[in-house]
């Protein structure tokens, strides 16, 4: 009986496979988390098809980075906060806690499913934007290098904040109703659905506190042509500030998530 326990990494990868399977079987997740930005990109580029967003940028091109940012936020923050709230409410977490699976494995599984779904979602968005909507996809390596760190920082902060926020809904059933409006509101004020510079200044001030605005702006810097930054409220992409704000949210989220995460329901004593 002295056989060694399976390593946390091995169990974590096995959990990733299981979580990915489950993600794509849940219709609600699939539509409202995975396909939402893709559907909206389609709608927006159709509705504003004649509009010129200055500098020859059309609607599809303007909204592609916003939808990419929004997708990252949905697959990380929204999907984790709703998913974990439901798992906690249905005692899935309690059951896992009673097995030799370590918490590291659980979070490897969660981060794994976020990475897989957000990369797939990004690929699909890019393919549809580039192939169907005629959006110019950048080829400069430095832009893609920026993309990589913005993507990683955005996903990571979305993950830890989602894990932390999962304790807010009082029940699994309430999870969607609590999380979705928060995400929707952030999307509206962060310039995902509107041209950011057209938003009132006070709204932009509020948005600047939250990570999605910086994620969207970072993605605009990658996917919009050089020189377009003069249309940004600050006249530049503000990548440095964006990196700092996202990193602060990551650190704060990590700290809070560790403190508030629990394996059992609140009423379970």
């Amino acid at each position: 009986m002295s056989t060694a326990l399976p390593s946390p990494l091995k169990i974590g990868l096995s959990r990733t496979r299981l979580e990915v399977k489950e993600f794509f079987r849940e219709r609600e997740q699939l539509i409202f988390t995975f396909l939402f930005p893709i559907i909206f990109l389609g709608i927006f580029s159709a509705v504003f098809s004649g509009t010129d967003f200055s500098g020859g940028v059309d609607a599809a091109t303007y909204f592609t980075p916003g939808m990419i940012a929004s997708g990252i936020f949905l697959t990380s923050f929204q999907s984790l906060s709703i998913g974990i709230a439901i798992e906690r409410d249905q005692d899935v977490l309690k059951r896992l806690r009673g097995t030799p699976m370590s918490s590291q494995s659980y979070f490897i599984g969660k981060i794994g499913v976020v990475l897989v779904t957000s990369v797939l979602q990004f690929g699909l968005l890019l393919a549809i934007a580039g192939l169907l909507l005629g959006v110019d996809i950048p080829s400069e390596p430095e832009k893609w290098l920026n993309f990589v760190w913005i993507f990683i920082l955005g996903t990571a902060s979305g993950c830890v904040l989602g894990i932390a926020f999962s304790v807010v809904p009082k029940s699994g059933r309430a999870a969607s109703a609590v999380v979705t409006p928060v995400v929707l509101l952030l999307q509206f004020i962060s310039g995902v659905y509107f041209v950011y510079s057209s938003l009132p200044a006070w709204m932009r001030t509020v948005a600047e506190i939250f990570p999605l605005k910086w994620l969207a702006q970072g993605m605009r810097s990658v996917f919009l042509p050089d020189g377009f930054e003069v249309n940004e409220p600050g006249g530049s992409w503000q990548l440095g500030t964006g990196a700092i704000v996202l990193a602060v949210w990551l650190v704060v989220g990590l700290f809070v998530a560790q403190r508030v995460f629990r394996w059992t329901r609140r009423d379970a004593g």
């Binding site: 056989t3 399976p6 169990i11 299981l18 489950e22 249905q90 005692d91 009673g98």
Partner: protein, 292 residues
Amino acid sequence: MQTDNAVTVRGLVKRYPDKVAVDGVDLDIHHGEVFALLGPNGAGKTTTVEILEGYRHADEGEVRVLGTDPAHGGRQWRARLGIVSQTSRDEAELSVAELVHHFAGYYPNPRDPDEVIAATGLEEKRRTRTRKLSGGQRRRLDVALGVVGNPELLFLDEPTTGFDPEARRQFWTLIENLRTEGTTILLTTHYLDEAEHLADRVGVIADGRMIEVATPDTLGGRGARTARVSWLSADGMREVRTDHPTAEVARLMAEYDGEVPELQVRRPSLEDIYLELIGAVAAAPVLEGAVR
């Protein structure tokens, strides 16, 4: 606290803001036995079990489960346990086979997942997603996930609630097979026939106290099993408790010169004894050692 028992509990106390849920419980469960914990709702059964499982922490007292304090049990310790909790509302979009195979991967020496699926009667449901299982089938999946790790000690918290009689019989066979293989089992149940059938010993807990621990056929002491002879006398129903029911019946035969009206000789069932035990607690708060 050195002990050879699978579970040793001394002076366990757990307080909640509104009440004392467990109030000085002692408990020993030997290796290889099936121990049934009985008691009314709110008596402290689940709290006690969840402390043994490491979900809750004791306020006072000493607890050893497989030689370890559950409050500090690590992965190695958990690998030796199987836990089937009372509630289960898992509605995953995953099939029975996927879940059982996945959980087997958590353990160093798991059972064959397909054998576990068959033994829990889920063979025909192996491709069914948990969301579509009936209550009884979901409970069997809970048991399958609890035993797939090949535990030394298995916790079953009201495992057969909601089972039909046939499913319950099948479940009993499963538990008997686990016991034969040497698994120690702590079972809580509301069904006295279940405890009588499965348990080597039973403990009755009420108001957070262990009021008695005994084998099913000695629970309540000798007096509790005294035969009761009852009949319809001229002044109404009469009942006599006696160690010599045959002599009593003979006396009645002589008295009535033939048929004794509504004659009954019975020995109390485990359920009668249990109800008497917890009834005594409900009637008067148990004093130290009052029942023992």
